[in-house]
C-alpha cells in the first residue's frame, strides 16, 4: 500500500436544532441537520440543492456534534465532479423531501461515497420514526412541501440554476 496517496479527512457535522438560534430559522422537523465537511468545506443538501460553505458557516453556527468519518483518498476534484452529478440528478433542489430525501440522506450517501461508512443510525432513523406515527403520515403532504435550507451557503448545481 502506498502511503503517499493523499488522504483527506472527512467529518460529519451534526446540528441539533432543538436549541439555539436555529429555532428562529426554518424549523426542522427532524431536529437534526447534518452536513459533510471535507477538503476544508462544508457540504449539505437543502431546498435549493447541494450547498457548500466554510465549515460551521451556515446560520446554524458551529455544529453540536462532530463525527469523524475517517479518511478518503478521493480527491477534491473527483469529489466536486461527483457532487455536480448528484446536484443535477438525485439531489436537485426540487428533490428535497423532508422525510425521505433530506439533508441526512445526502450526508449518508456522501459519507458512504467518501469513506464507505454510513452516518450514525440515529440520524437516518429519524424520518421513519416520525412516519411511523399515524400523524406523521397524515401530515406528510404538508410536510413534504417543507424545505429546510440553512442559509449561508453557495449552491453547487453543476452550473444550472434551479
Amino acid at each position: 500500500m502506498d502511503k503517499n496517496i493523499p488522504r483527506y479527512n472527512v467529518q460529519l457535522y451534526i446540528y441539533d436544532l432543538s436549541r439555539g438560534m436555529a429555532r428562529s430559522l426554518s424549523p426542522i422537523m427532524l431536529g437534526k441537520h447534518t452536513a459533510i465537511v471535507a477538503y476544508g468545506d462544508e457540504f449539505f443538501f437543502g431546498g435549493e440543492g447541494i450547498s457548500s460553505c466554510s465549515p460551521g458557516g451556515t446560520m446554524l453556527g458551529p455544529p453540536d456534534t462532530v463525527v469523524e468519518l475517517g479518511e478518503t483518498e478521493v480527491t477534491e476534484e473527483i469529489f466536486m465532479d461527483y457532487l455536480s452529478s448528484l446536484g443535477e440528478t438525485t439531489y436537485r433542489g426540487d428533490r428535497y423531501r423532508l422525510f425521505e430525501h433530506n439533508c441526512n440522506t445526502f450526508t449518508n450517501e456522501v459519507a458512504q461515497f467518501l469513506t464507505g461508512r454510513s452516518i450514525p443510525s440515529y440520524i437516518t432513523d429519524l424520518p421513519s420514526e416520525v412516519l411511523s406515527t399515524p400523524f406523521g403520515q397524515i401530515l406528510r403532504p404538508i410536510l413534504d412541501s417543507i424545505h429546510i435550507s440553512p442559509p449561508g451557503g453557495n449552491i453547487i448545481n453543476g452550473g444550472r440554476n434551479i
Binding site: 472527512v10 428562529s24 478521493v74 440528478t89 458512504q112
Partner: protein, 585 residues
Amino acid sequence: MAEQGAADLGNNNNNKPEASEGTIIKVTVKTPKDKEEIAIAEDASVTQFKEEISKRFKAKQDQLVLIFAGKILKDGDSLSQHGIKDGLTVHLVIKTAHKAADGSSTSASSSTSTQAGNSSASSPAANPAPTTVPTGSGQAPTQTPNIMSGFGDLASLAGLGMGSANFMELQQQMQRQLMSNPEMLSQIMENPLVQNMMSNPDLMRQMIMANPQMQQLMERNPEISHMLNNPELMRQTMELARNPAMMQEMMRNQDRALSNLESIPGGYNALRRMYTDIQEPMFSAAREQVSFGSNPFSALGGNSDSGAQPSRTENREPLPNPWGPPNSSNPSESGGGTTGSTSTSGTTNPSVSNPLGVNPASLGNGMFNSPGMQSLLQQISENPQLMQNMLSAPYMRSMMQSLAQNPELASQVMMNNPLFSGNPQLQEQFRSQLPIFLQQMQNPEALSVMTNPRAMQALMQIQQGLQTLQTEAPGLMPSLMTGGIPGVPTGGAVPAENPASSPSSAATNPAQQQLMQQMLQMFAGGGGSGGGNGTSQTPEVRFQTQLDQLNAMGFINREANLQALIATGGDINAAIERLLGSQPS
C-alpha cells in the same frame, strides 16, 4: 495466478457465470445518477472491472474513477485486494472533460426511474411539481369520503385540537414552520376565511373573551380589556395580523425600542417588572387558548397595548424546546373537558421573532381548508382511530358546544370556507343544514358513532358504495336527489387537477349530498332509535304533511320547522314544543 484469472475472464467476458478459477461475484456499481450490477470474477483486477463498467455505462475506461471504502481503485489493484466481495457497492465517478453530465446522460432516463423508485412512497402524495402545498396535495382524490366533508368543516375548526400529544408536537412544529416561512403565512392570510374572521372585530372579541384565561387576565389587567374594547386598536391589530411583513416590522421596532429602554438606568428593572406582570399571564393565557385565532389577538393585542412600553416583547426566559415534549404538561383529561382550556392547542412557544407566541396556525384556520388539509382530513377520515382521537380531545367538545351555542359564528366560519365560496347554492344548502349539524354534534349518539371506528368505516363503505352506484347506475341516483347538503369539497376546491372528474363529481354531488343528509337525519333525529331509517326522501318530503300543519298553525319559519321535525323525527307536537321552547336565532 493473476494471468490465469485474466485468461479466464478473457473467455467469459460477458456475464457467463463460470465457476472456474474465480467465482463470479455481483458488485453493484453506483454513480450519482445510476446503479448497475456487474458480474465479475472475484479475483479480477480493477482494469478488468473497468472494462465491464465501461461497456455497461458507455464511458471510456480512463474516465472511470472507482471508489470503494474511501479508496480509489487503481488499475493495477485487484478487487480482492480492496475487499470487494459479492453484493458490495462500489462508487463510480465518470470524469468528463467538461461536465460529468455527458458521461452519465445516457443513464439519466434510468436514473429518473430509480429516483421514482426511491421516492415512490412520497410521489403519490406530493407530485414532482412545484412543491407548494396546494399543488402538492391537489392530488387529493375526488373520492374523498364525503362524510368528512360534512364534518370536515367542523373538524377543520377543531383540527388543531387533536388529542394526541404527538400531534400537538407536530403541530407546534408546523406552526413554527409557518411562522418562519413567510410565504406560507401570507398564503394563510390571504385565505378569505381568515380574512373574514379577522375583519370582524366583534367576532374576534367574542372569541377572545370566551377564553376564561383571557377573562382572568382582563380582570387583572384592565388595560387589556380596554384594548379589546377599543375598535381602533383591534382593527390595527388585525391589520397587523393580516400583514406579516408589518408584523415583523413592528416586532423589530419593538425589539429595538426595547433594547434602548434597557440602557436607561432603572429601565431594566421596569422592563423586568412589566414582563413578569404582563407577559407571563399573557403567555399562559395564550398557551391555553383553543385554537381559534384568539391567540394572535391576545398576543398582538398585548403587543400593541404595550406599544408605549415595549417590555413585553422581549423574552428573557430560555426559549422552550420546540421539539421537546409539548409544553402544556397537562393531564389532558382534566375535568369534563367542557372548559376547553385543558390542553394546549394552537399555541406557539414564544420565540425571539415572535415574542408573544403568535399562532399563525390558528390564524391559518383557513389553511385547514386548503387542499392540503383536505387530503389530510381525508386521511383522517380513513383512519377512524384518528377520528376518535380527535373527537375525544377535550376542546373538540367545547368547540362543538360553543359552535352550537353560537350558530352565527359557526355559520360565518363555514360560509367563508373557501370551498363554498364559489358556490352560493352549496352555501345555502349548507346553511340550512347547519343546525342539523350542530344538533347532531351535540347528540351523544352521533358522537359515539363518530368515535366508533367500525361505525365510521361502515359509513364510509356506504359512501363508497353510493359512489360506485353513481358510476354504475347513474339513472338510479336522480330518483334520490332532492336537494341536499354540500358534498364534495374537493370537487369545488381542486382546480383542473382532474377536469374529467369534476363534472362527474358535480353530478355525484347531489347524490352524495343526499346521503349526507340521510346520515345526518339519522344522527340528529333517530340516533337513539337506530340509524336504519333508510328513507330515500329528504326530510322536506317526508315531513311534508307535518310541515303543512305547522305552517297552518302559524309557524312560518320553514327552516326552523324542518329542523324541529327532523329533530323529533316527525313528531309534530314535540316539534312544536321545540319551536316554542328554544328559539333558534
